[in-house]
Symmetry: C2
Subunit: 397 residues, 2 copies
């Protein structure tokens, strides 16, 4: 992430601290190159080796406490106003800074609900508790999950612009895949074709290379979150692909569905077309209900209910997630009220959050139909930032 965007996000963080009346936010980490705290990239822009604290205050100060050997690097990176070094033990310097500010609340990087606010390891939590022992600060720690959800969720105009560019580039690759698909090609070959283009263009992938893209052809496929196999495309298959790139630090995440015509066919069988249409309509209906203040579970209800009422099984995942610098970003989630999602289905939606909408259904004997679009929440609704898949794509045999 470049320095200018880091400073912009820090400024936004200060506004959020004011809004929530939290005096100090501290990211406490070590060896952040090995164990990544997801906020380091957005707010610090480099890694640290020894126990380090990256502090943002409601009054707008930014203070980094790092091992003395890393002072020079922090200065070069230039994202923190004040840099404090220590040689043997972080504790004294940390307490010195806390005593200077005497914060009544310190938001730190742990959360039961949100992975992105949960970069503090348990070992580091125990270390921090010892550093703060017999100080008043121990009792003033709170989770930073609300701050992180707001900061990652509320996209600036610049962030949304980059995400739109990422979508354009991604859909160009989908178009190339449409040209490439034909019977006899395996799922793995499709993935290799995509990887080659991504490499040539110098993009990153939005998630693990092993299943970015995921490619599924025909009935009885491995299901989402699995890698492509040696299974070959055949006439009569429904094919779907889940794919996103990392572009200027931001992710896209899109799914499209194809049907492979059998000899003599000029359109997909009705049962395939119907599956596609149900997915498309479930997206239209759920998107129409999105607006600030709604809960994600209410939106998931709509698509899930429509698909089940249309006679299909419910999808075994959330309807959609936020998207940003990582593919599963932000706090609020368009998900069912399952315990595995914690409090995320209940968080109110906010303006400028970017969500995927990605229902799924099985067309028996043909394959899986999925469409994944991206929307940005507006003042009183949402807008699609992906040009929608309106038609089932047809592949000739």
């Amino acid at each position: 992430m470049n320095k200018e965007m880091i400073l912009e996000k820090q400024k936004q963080a200060v506004e959020i601290l004011k809004e929530k009346d939290i005096e100090m936010w501290m990211i406490f980490v070590r060896e952040s190159g090995n164990i990544n705290d997801p906020m380091m990239d957005m707010l610090v822009g480099t890694n640290c080796t020894w126990q380090s604290a990256f502090i943002i205050t409601k009054a707008g100060q930014t203070i980094a406490i790092v091992g003395s050997l890393e002072i020079a690097n922090m200065k070069l990176v230039g994202t923190f106003q004040r840099i404090e070094g220590y040689l043997k033990h972080v504790k004294d310097k940390l307490l010195e800074v806390l005593d200077e500010f005497k914060p009544n609340k310190i938001a730190i990087n742990f959360s039961r609900n949100s992975t992105l606010a949960d970069g503090l390891t348990h070992g580091m939590y125990l270390e921090l508790m010892e550093h703060l022992d017999k100080t008043p600060y121990k009792e003033r720690l709170i989770s930073s999950e609300e701050i992180v959800a707001a900061l990652r969720g509320r996209k600036s105009d610049k962030e949304i612009q980059i995400m739109k560019e990422a979508i354009t580039e991604t859909l160009k690759i989908f178009d190339q895949v449409t040209e490439y698909l034909k019977p006899g090609i395996s799922e793995k070959e499709v993935a290799q074709f995509v990887h080659k283009i991504v490499e040539e263009k110098g993009f990153g992938l939005a998630w693990d290379k092993d299943y970015c893209p995921s490619v599924f052809t025909g009935p009885d496929t491995a299901g989402a979150h699995a890698g492509p196999t040696d299974k070959k495309i055949e006439p009569g298959h429904v094919i779907n692909m889940d794919f996103g790139i990392k572009y200027k630090g931001y992710c896209s995440d899109i799914q499209r569905t194809w049907y492979v015509l059998k000899p003599g066919e000029v359109k997909a069988p009705d049962v395939v077309q119907r599956g596609f249409d149900v997915i498309k309509d479930s997206i239209t209906q759920s998107a129409a209900a999105i607006k600030p203040g709604k809960q994600g579970c209410e939106i998931d209800d709509i698509a899930r209910g429509y698909i089940v009422n249309s006679g299909y099984e419910e999808y075994p995942h959330a309807l959609g997630h936020q998207l940003g610098r990582v593919a599963h970003d932000g706090g609020a989630l368009l998900s069912p009220r399952w315990e595995r999602y914690g409090n995320l289905p209940y968080l109110p939606l906010e303006e400028n959050q970017v969500f995927t909408i990605e229902p799924r259904l099985t067309i028996d004997g043909y394959g899986i139909a999925t469409i994944e679009e991206e929307v940005v929440i507006t003042k009183d609704g949402c807008e699609f930032i992906t040009p929608r898949q309106e038609q089932l794509y047809l592949v000739k045999s």
Copy 2:
């Protein structure tokens, strides 16, 4: 990491569980693509989205408990014998497996001392405590740090072989740099030259691109753990470079020192040569003391003492660290008894651990002299696996 090597490390893990009489080891993670547990790559070979438990038992079973949508992927990856899926909540399935084995000790992924054993976030720790509430297992949790230290530290022949190949490839790049260096070239240009070669050869970097390589020319440089700057090489500079590649999943980490001859000079000034020799001799002396059972701090004492007694300031870091799939690997550390290193300076050294030895000193008015070599610990001593830098490299003006 390929499947064969993962299965080899799992087998080694079972031996370590037997040796330490621990019935179960569990890595508990979620969204491991965003927050990386450093053991996932070595033992699982893929990532998970929802709360997941990766279990290895003393009896040799491997069990993965994952969100149902990720069962297919775990099967494809093929590294775990038994795969259990859940739809809404991990708790029931987790307790079912624990009740089946009734382990008297469960090592989990947290540690105050070792980052590599500390992949459990505090939020996930709180989740786990709730899952285990009112069960006997809550009281049976221990840190996996001893297992992790043994497993990552004790390298197999195959691992050492790969690490030697990585060294050979790295030193070829150092040789190209020796040819390339000349007055007028900036630290950044040297780094770009190195990056170009690394990219062409398809290697990875051993740590963050921003400071891999680190390049320092002349007096008053930014110091270790900082990125290269626009500072230009001049006659009379001591130059040093810290650089490593990631090769077949394993890291190298090497430093070399050059002197830039002034017009008319045919060798370095005595004061420069002496600084280089003190560094070289401090490596020889400390390496001579390395053997299984010694503590890292005893080894650090030797080099640190020798350098200080030779009239230089002590280096503000550890003498050396373990190396493996990450650049700072394993448990035991060749470090001083500073609190920031926790218990790592006191852990006994073991056979087949690979360590760097990397003292540093400042030659006033010229620059920093550093040499970093790699050694593997043998039954009764250690062997250098880097061909040593015996001579100060000279750059002509």
